[in-house]
């Protein structure tokens, strides 16, 4: 119960910070709009083709957009040595991580909700499979990206050129999850095969990596 309250406080703090500046969400939104436009120039999508590629494009857009925002979310903590204060506080370190990951999850979800109409407009999308399943696939995929992304952003926080390091370590580890979300989304959009297998993969991935992140976060925070 106490742990949940710590998480809630961290989450509240991050959401309040974001609410006052709105940097991350606005930045991600415009960035993803740009990438969507660039991709449609590259592929000249017709309705049939866009169904094939939209699943992949969507997750690539979200991956890039999230990467730009994830570094920001920890850089905030460096100002005025807030992170040092966090390290000294008796609250469990992983609560800080869970709170921040939940906040980032919320921000990326907002971007997704705004992005969905854009995708439908620009790619003439109309799902042939069970579109309802997207309500499961999207949160699962987003959590897979955001949980590991938040963790690795913290891991690279005090390294040289951290902006560059994050994608270099996040992408290789995320590839099975990316495969899962892209396949599941494509399966739903085209209706040609079942997405269930890939949803199961995403669930397994999320369980394994969320546990690893929560357990190892304190080590990373106090790595010296």
């Amino acid at each position: 119960m106490n742990y949940a309250r710590h998480v809630w406080n961290h989450l509240k703090k991050d959401v309040r910070l974001e609410w006052r500046s709105r940097d991350s969400v606005n930045g991600m939104l415009f960035f993803s709009l740009l990438v969507v436009v660039v991709f449609s120039l590259a592929f000249d999508p017709t309705a049939a083709m866009s169904r094939e590629i939209a699943g992949g494009v969507l997750w690539v857009v979200l991956l890039f957009a999230a990467t730009t925002a994830l570094n920001q979310s920890w850089t905030r903590e460096l100002k005025n040595r807030v992170l040092e204060a966090q390290r000294m506080s008796p609250a469990p370190a992983s609560a800080l991580f869970v709170g921040k990951a939940l906040a980032n999850f919320l921000f990326v979800t907002i971007v997704e909700l705004a992005l969905a109409p854009m995708f439908i407009l620009f790619y003439n999308l109309h799902a042939l499979g069970q579109a309802r399943l997207l309500w499961i696939v999207m949160p699962l995929g987003t959590w897979a990206l955001v949980c590991n992304g938040t963790f690795f952003a913290a891991l690279g926080l005090r390294t040289r050129n951290r902006e560059m390091l994050l994608p270099l370590i996040l992408f290789p580890v995320s590839i099975p999850a990316l495969l899962g979300m892209m396949q599941a989304t494509t399966a739903i959009l085209t209706g040609e095969f079942e997405p269930n297998l890939w949803i199961r993969l995403l669930i397994a991935y999320n369980v394994a990596f969320t546990a690893a992140c929560v357990l190892l976060f304190e080590t990373v925070l106090n790595a010296e």
Binding site: L155, G156, L168, P172, P176, A208, L216, V220
Partner: protein, 245 residues
């Protein structure tokens, strides 16, 4: 000093033994073993490619064990932790070398047998992913500041270890073009002819010995680098003490 001389001569003996084994195994594979029933002489790359791919899946366990050891001893016994870290970096680099050899020889074989250098088949992709994971491990080691490199790298190694089984699970789920696993496979047609076995086993042993040698040399190198670093740090402290006095 005495201990290091014994270790040095042991390493030299091991080197000679390994070289002899490699020569013997290569001769078995290239000359003595019969040509492959379906592929002819091209199939002989099997004796080089498969041992390397199998071993490149063994060294990561060493890396993982060393990384866990490092995290365990980090606060309890820093000196032991340092040697665990030296083992971690040595095994990571050798993993990268073996995986690179596996990928390159696989491509050479694919060009002849399939007519293409590369295909996005699950088995090839998962090997490439293993390679990518270890490249990112090396990148992290290079980018992070000296005080925390070992801890961060150990954490990433654990993440990679969790990732690998998930990647491998996709083998069953994705259609494969790569020949199904020769060993430990459910396919009744899998396995090699008895006449190929001696050459294959000899090659596995030879390249495993070679890998152990590489890891030992790299380990010794890293230990020396650590010792130098410690000496420098100690000297800096002593100098500063003298200065204040």
């Amino acid at each position: 000093m005495e201990r290091s001389r014994i270790l040095g001569s042991l390493a030299f003996a091991w080197l000679l033994l390994t070289l002899a084994m490699i020569v013997f195994a290569t001769r078995l594979g290239l000359v003595m073993a019969p040509p492959d029933a379906l592929q002819g002489n091209v199939g002989r790359i099997f004796y080089y490619h498969v041992p390397h791919s199998m071993l490149s899946l063994v060294w990561p366990y060493l890396n993982l064990a060393a990384s866990i050891g490092f995290l365990y001893w980090r606060r309890r016994d820093p000196l032991k932790a340092l040697s665990a870290d030296a083992l971690a970096i040595a095994s990571a680099e050798v993993t990268l070398v073996y995986a690179t050899i596996c990928l390159t020889t696989g491509m050479l074989w694919g060009r002849v047998q399939w007519g293409i250098w590369w295909t996005w088949d699950a088995r090839l992709t998962s090997m490439l992913l293993l390679w990518l994971l270890y490249v990112s491990y090396m990148m992290l080691r290079k980018f992070s500041s000296t005080g925390q490199t070992q801890t961060l790298a150990a954490v990433l190694s654990i993440f990679a270890a969790i990732d690998v089984p998930i990647v491998y699970k996709s083998i069953d789920w994705w259609r494969t073009q790569h020949p199904s696993p020769v060993f430990f496979s459910k396919d009744p047609d899998a396995g090699v002819d008895k006449s190929m076995m001696p050459a294959f086993v000899a090659n596995i042993i030879a390249w495993a010995m070679w890998g152990i040698l590489l890891i030992a040399i790299r380990y010794a190198l890293e230990r020396r680098r650590q010792a130098l670093e410690q000496d420098a740090a100690l000297k800096a402290i002593e100098d500063s003490l003298e200065f204040t006095r």
